[in-house]
């Protein structure tokens, strides 16, 4: 991030929340006094719980920290029945340490690390079990995407951000193909980022930046990227527009936001298409119970249009067993089988007979891929739009 963020403090009476953002490094109590006045005002104005939102506070010096502690101590006296809920992010490395300490010191204070479980499927998706799935997927999608990206406006020497970059392989491919001026990948899985780092190191690549971060609260500066991508990611969030808003924010006016998502019930395999269809329908339901919308793909066009994007383009990557390396395609489905009948089924406690039937459908899909007379598809929806110049 190249910009220094000034400090801001906002109180929303409606949400009973004070949000502190940017850099707070007061020299002493006098310099903190205006902040304290806002906090006191908020504490006077609410009942029950006052939320202190530190998600975007990047810097706090120890003087500021002690002043916050004073405020909390004063609250305990002035408003004995008021609880303070400190909402902190693991993306800011000092925050859980410091605020966790405050939570242990003060009886009126609760600390919530909001990005521990900020959407229901979190744990299941960030697990490193997913690595082989992501790898094989990128491999087969890239052969199509490489050309298609140009049609959606990606050119050479651009500033690019890949949000929810997973294991970082897409960033590497883009780096080689498009020689960006700057490219950063952000993800919220430490195992994935470690993998990304290791891979980049092995390939001798040093100028891709990988960042631990939350797509709904990016620390990247506004209006600073020519091309912002988020692939196969919006579909796993229960509130995709909260990410999309951030993608728009960091995109330059005139730049483009590029998304890919699936429509899982459109996956198809002939001849045993009923079994295949059942499995994908059921997988969608399981994912839904974890807050994901695996049929999100076709909805992107209206979403981008409604958000005010210009020149919205949408198409499909038509992956079939006729245009894709059969072994790779089969491996992708096999890794889904493993992931859905393993991780996902365990997390949602599927009965054994359901797991078995799920498995059959994946195997029938693979059969369709490999069979001389079979036909199999995995359509991926691609959409992009231009951010208005204003």
């Amino acid at each position: 991030m190249e910009n220094e963020q000034p400090f801001s403090i906002r109180f929303s009476e409606n949400d009973q929340e004070v949000a502190l953002e940017g850099t707070l490094r007061p020299a002493g109590p006098e310099a903190f006094a205006p902040v304290r006045a806002r906090l006191d005002h908020a504490a006077d104005a609410v009942r029950g719980v006052l939320y202190l939102n530190f998600k975007r506070l990047r810097y706090l010096n120890h003087t500021g920290f002690l002043e916050l502690a004073r405020f909390i101590a004063a609250c305990a006296e002035r408003h004995p029945s008021l609880k303070l809920k400190l909402v902190v992010s693991s993306v800011v490395p000092w925050a859980p340490l410091r605020f966790g300490f405050l939570g242990a010191q003060f009886g009126n204070t609760i600390v919530e690390q909001y990005d521990k479980a900020f959407y229901p499927g979190q744990g299941v998706i960030e697990n490193d079990q997913l690595v082989p799935v992501l790898r094989t997927q990128t491999n087969i999608v890239w052969s199509h995407e490489r050309e298609l990206l140009r049609r959606h406006g990606l050119g050479k020497r651009m500033r690019i951000a890949d949000i929810c970059c997973g294991i970082g392989d897409f960033a590497v491919l883009v780096y080689k193909e498009f020689e960006p001026a700057y490219i950063v990948g952000v993800d919220h899985s430490r195992p994935f980022l470690q993998y990304a780092q290791q891979m980049a190191r092995e390939f001798g690549i040093t100028d891709i930046e990988y960042q631990f971060g939350d797509a709904t609260h990016l620390f990247l500066p506004s209006n600073s990227f020519d091309f912002v991508t988020s692939r196969l990611a919006l579909q796993i969030f229960n509130d995709p527009s909260s990410i999309l808003r951030e993608l728009v924010r960091i995109c330059k006016p005139g730049g483009r936001v590029y998304l890919t998502n699936e429509m899982t019930v459109h996956n198809y395999g002939y001849p045993r298409h009923e079994s295949v269809a059942w499995t994908y329908q059921h997988a969608v339901k399981i994912a839904q119970s974890l807050g994901m919308d695996m049929n999100f793909g076709p909805k992107m066009f209206s979403l981008l249009t409604d958000m005010g994007f210009e020149d919205v383009r949408m198409e499909q990557i038509p992956i079939t067993n006729n245009n894709t390396a059969i072994d790779d395609f089969a491996r992708v489905i096999e890794s889904w089988e493993e992931y859905v009948t393993g991780e996902l089924s365990t997390a949602t406690q599927q009965p054994p007979e359901v797991v078995e039937r799920l498995r059959m459908g994946f195997r029938d899909h693979v059969y369709a891929i490999r069979s001389r007379r079979g036909f199999a598809t995995w359509p991926i929806y691609v959409a992009s739009g231009r951010k208005p110049e204003r």
Partner: protein
Amino acid sequence: MTSDLAPPSPPGPSPILTLRISVRGLYDSWTHCQRLADYIARFVASDRFDPEQLTTRLSTYLNEVLEYVFRARPSEGEIVVEVGRTDEHVIAELTIPTDEALAQRLRDDLGRVAPADARARYEAEFESMILRPPAEVGLLELVALHGVELTLREGDGAGVIVLTVPHE
């Protein structure tokens, strides 16, 4: 050809940057502390994996030490900041010109942030520190909560605060 082979010196940190700041220049503005801390942190972290995380941590720690120096008010001369790196740590050394009184003060303050009991002391005294923060409290917290190591080395008319920060 003969040569006196010196015994191999232990591998020290490989140097990254050296900055000299006049004491007066620093005092011009409180915000110099954070500007310097941010600049140094960003520079040092730039080629690392996830530079943003390392920048945030380094800037947080350096700023705390610089604020401490700002408050300790050495009277004249230059503050030198040298930063280097080993495989596991970033090491920052801040050399501060001292007179007798300041040398003693550094000795006292840094003596009170020993890692062995930092956490226990920080916890036990937190309530009273909120009301009357001792001069070294920001440094104590670095050691107590953030796993940073702080030591003092004394030279001729100078004190060197050594900050050792694990990469991750």
